[in-house]
Symmetry: D2
């Protein structure tokens, strides 16, 4: 196990860190000031500052860093991308600044790997250029989406067309005015083998029959101006060539997408947890009560030590998962990927809860601590619930004894 | 230890339960529909349905149940009020329906115990009639308010007047259009003995010099149309008779207010946790994944059992605290009160977190689960941080060995 | 719920406490000095001091306090016995001093309830007189005994005789030189209904064919001179009248025995946990490191507060279980009994672990802390594993929603 | 961070693993059978099988693997030794078989680094040859030894002699018939600077004035035939040249000894935890209750998954500590060393507790599970209490913010 990052990775990480510190963080407030957000998503407007920062990052070559593909991306493998993603995880807008934010990253990977030339030209290129954004429509209301056999949405092939029907939710990015297309997953052939029933289809955001019903709040937060949408597909008809890689390959593509694309969240969660610990420690050192800094009261040092130990262990396991992915592929990394998807969000949630607690009432309304808490809590479900990942770790462990 | 509730308590609890089930819960959606809330608190409007429900409850005599005082209240002691408060804790509007919601309850207790006849007539009577609401202005920004010696706001006695200066926050109810007065706490004589420095003053909401600066969100929630306000007192001048019980008695009054008035939160938290567990179990029974109800998957039954055990223990300790308060007064109940203030909110937070988790994405935006989570999380600070209460429990325990 | 103990219970508790403090604890060392114990159980000798103390307690009427039966016992119900058992739980020999130690207590209850007059005369009377001791042979090696259908031992009725075959283990008391009889459970009719297959039989300790194979250590401790035995029943032939209450009633008797007889362990565990907390606090107050008592270092106060809160809650739930048993019988108390069987041992184990930790190296070899740890750890299995009890709590909870 | 083990390390690990599996584990029972152990340490005899196995291992060159020194040891650094130590941690006698067991390892490191040529010849050489064993006499009864300023034992320089007085305990190995010498630490000059007060002295086990008072049990286990001794030094007079590296350097040497020598315990604890998890899983797969393997009941899979995740994270952090030690020295590795000393024993303790629980009654007396539990529990104190290590992690973390 070699977790050493390449020279190039170290250099890029340093550049990204500098850019985040000097350009991104100082513009957090500008972003908030410019944002037209709130409960009515139809009024949302993207803050112009984000496009300025994107252009700057692009000009510096700090762009599409997540994409290992040499042609479309920048050729860094998972191990090399990990420290970069960690740095971007410390700011709520940094991932987008470097064109490295979900769900575009996963969608781009799908298109790079499975897209036709025409599909790449139409959707991948503007996406990687940062001109448009996208959504991923898989999860459905009213059924347990962690079990793919529950999927109800359909994409029937009728002659030269494919016809989409069904309801989806938690389609992140659906509220973003720049969202130009979705990748939709549905059942094409309910009689086929379990793993060959589904297809994935590229759907323009303005396709007739597609309606965005509402944005779903996460603990009261809309993640404006991106949002998490509930979408109705009512007889959306598209030419057959909108199907990615051919009908029946949806499950296969989804599995691939669950690999590398998904540990990005963990990498960022580590950075976010570091941010929470920083806030915790700063408060512990500077806040005085009963004549002492909080760091010297009660069990606060134990909390700090436990947080440091948890984050360091989570980072190492994330690196191991990245290394395993790079050297052995998804199947060699299954335990590590599942494990880190449980651990990283839970560490983030608990360190953030502690950071909030030490901030007292102030912590309850601190925007950054709120963002961190929502991220940690939501990630315990967004990439599959803890329970499913724990089940996978146990299954692989028990296999050794059968 | 006799935790048996009186016949009257049992009867009232049954009535309250029926009213909550038949009148309050069915109107939750009406309340939400009528509410004019959101980030701009100056536009908030109280849903008319709440006043209708209040009138109905009042007509049934289900009114001011929290107040043990025979004259002003309904004569139930803490032990008898506990199961009633628990029932009201299962609905986000029920406490107000029965005129039993914070901070009015604590303010009423202060006025009953320490108010002059004039003060009672002016503020207590309309408050108990449900015609006005009120706020409590004690916590301050920028200092650790868990340590009372940190208080910076002042209320100087100048001739016949008392002059208030300072900034307060987390003044709950400050955004409510019906909020008519505040109880303000400030330093009158910084040279006096630690426990005789402070005074409490009744301040009309429209007093010149008093400005409501903003409402503070709790994890993004404004608790509209009540809100948690940040207030500026800039040379607010009032006649000296606005002081409660005379200058220098603020600390004494605050201590009293921290007793009974404060375990109401715990009683309601138990009810709220029961509500969370009900949601958890209903989901576990009715949701199917991988061919089974969630109740039969993984460790879900352990979570359910642990939740049941935690709630039952928390309820018993709350009853013990109530019983101790009733039979031995605040000083005989100190350990139990401190203990239950740690335990009840933590149980609520963890059961709710589990209920959210089992609801998957849906749990993230479920309004009731969000309300429960915010309540649990906020209560770990609102009545004093966990850390301070644990410190008190430990101090009293160690005292036995010195 | 009325947890108030009767005047008689209070008086007896006070007497027992005095006797434990003045006579039992001061003789702990004498007991240890007189004991012939160790790995070779065949050499074990009971310390004479225990018989002296038993006689003293008996003379004072502090005898068979556990037994609610008016005729054979002393007529205290579970609620009234709880504080007494708690006091005895603070000494490793006190339960025996008052003739209140397992498994004699459970066996006596079985005989009182189901025994024939002859059986009572032969076994119950000397047992209650403290002249003999006894064992309970139910658990078997090599199968999961938490599932009664796994039982392999047999007791066939052949003519006028009953013939016992099989292997048992964890038969507590089997190494005690005074152990005069066992209650054996085995399958009489494998074809009968699940709950009518088993019988219970009274077996003299010197019955031909019965061999005690070895004593099982618990974390290296033999609980000498009582021991936990592994027993071989090889064609043990007894007259049919040795069967308790008739063939086929074994399961019914076992269920009854799992009720009251079994929450005694929980009551004692609460007392034991109090003892551990006392040791923890004394050390915290008197031990100095880095210039301060340990109580003022790190998170020790949090540990103390958490221990106090856990014990107080566990005690209340034990009282609730006792009250429920007394007023509603086993079926009305199922959730509470199962819950407290999980909670009490776990609280004992964790408070003891903390007490050990604060004692440093000394804690590792402190006999009392060792005894407490072994008790806590073993009880998590001895009365059925945590997992089975949690399963029962969850099952009863979920039943409400079906 | 490069955690990759060298080719040589991989080869040696494979050899050690084979030897443990084929020669050591199959002789566990022989060792137990040959052992003369028990409470009376003066009768202890070392099982001859251990010397046979040592000779075999030595012949294969699997010897002194812990010692990085090229001349005396085998030149493997910490990173390379980690997987080897992990393998040996899976057997209770393997560390000794390869001459890699504490406290000899730490003592050898001290002599290699600080010993005179004469000292090396007299003590180091037979120690590394496996002909003798040794003890380390630092911890004292009645004071908090985690605070070195508490040390009371003295070693006064009087003319050409050094005179030792004081009482020590937890001197591991003191009961071993082969124990030939101790390294003793005492105060030479109480007036000197805090870090220059102490000296370390080599004391022959048969020095007049040195008396072994007793062996201390750990949770009832004596770790026979090695034992943890309490020693009395009563005017033990030795030539001055018995002092290691000169008077006043004791603290310096102790600090050095706390570095590499001490993460060996963590490496072995990881292996021990793997052993516990193996036992847990084997039981989960093969034991049937209620018609299913335990693996399919309740929350057992969550326990397995959590154990796997905890062990994997702990291993990575141990490797990081080893790597940091190798590349940056003790000061660059302080956080990691402190962290892993908290984490590794706690993981071992909790996985073992779970393994015991799933074994039911059998787990309580299983010798291997008992050994694992004692190791985990004792290590939470033996290398300094958790609390001290957590304090160090917090101190280093907070330093960043001052």
């Amino acid at each position: 196990m070699d977790f050493e990052h390449s020279e190039r990775s170290k250099a890029v990480t340093a550049q990204v860190r500098r850019f985040v510190e000097q350009r991104v963080v100082p513009n957090h407030q500008t972003y908030r000031d410019q944002l037209v957000g709130g409960a009515d998503w139809t009024r949302w407007k993207v803050p112009p500052i984000i496009e300025e920062l994107k252009q700057e990052a692009k000009d510096l070559g700090l762009w599409n860093l997540f994409l290992p593909d040499e042609k479309y991306g920048c050729g860094l493998d998972n191990r090399d991308y990990a420290p970069i993603a960690e740095v971007t995880g410390q700011s709520f807008i940094a991932p987008e600044v470097f064109n490295c934010s979900a769900p575009d990253t996963g969608n781009a990977e799908v298109l790079v790997q499975y897209g036709s030339e025409e599909q790449k030209q139409q959707w991948l290129e503007p996406l990687l250029a940062g001109e448009i954004r996208s959504g991923f429509a898989m999860t459905e209301p009213a059924v347990a989406s962690s079990d793919a056999t529950n999927m109800r949405a359909t994409c029937e092939v009728v002659g030269d067309e494919v016809v989409l029907n069904g309801q989806k939710w938690w389609t992140s990015g659906a509220g973003d005015p720049r969202c130009a297309f979705y990748i939709f997953m549905g059942v094409t052939d309910a009689q086929a083998d379990r793993h060959q029933r589904h297809s994935m289809v590229l759907v323009p955001a303005d396709a007739p029959g597609l309606e965005v019903l509402r944005m779903l709040p996460v603990l009261g937060h809309y993640d404006d101006p991106h949002g998490h949408g509930e979408l109705l597909f009512d007889n959306v008809r598209l030419p057959k060539r909108a199907i990615i890689a051919g009908a029946g390959r949806g499950f296969e593509i989804a599995q691939g997408r669950l690999g590398p694309g998904r540990i990005h969240h963990c990498m960022r969660a580590i950075g976010a947890a570091e941010r929470a610990l920083r806030r915790l420690c700063e408060r512990a050192v500077h806040r005085i009560a009963f004549g002492k800094p909080l760091a010297n009261l009660g069990g606060n040092r134990d909390i700090i030590a436990n947080s440091r130990m948890a984050i360091d262990q989570a980072r190492l396991l994330t690196l191991k998962a990245a290394w395993a992915l790079d050297t052995m592929g998804t199947f060699g990394a299954l335990t590590d990927i599942s494990a880190i998807k449980v651990i990283a969000p839970n560490v983030l949630q608990s360190v953030t809860d502690a950071a909030m607690q030490i901030h007292g009432g102030e912590g309850m309304s601190d925007p950054e601590l709120n963002w961190l808490l929502v991220m940690g809590r939501a990630l315990r479900l967004a990439d599959g619930p803890d329970e499913v990942h724990r089940g996978m770790v146990a299954r692989l462990e028990l296999k050794k004894y059968r």
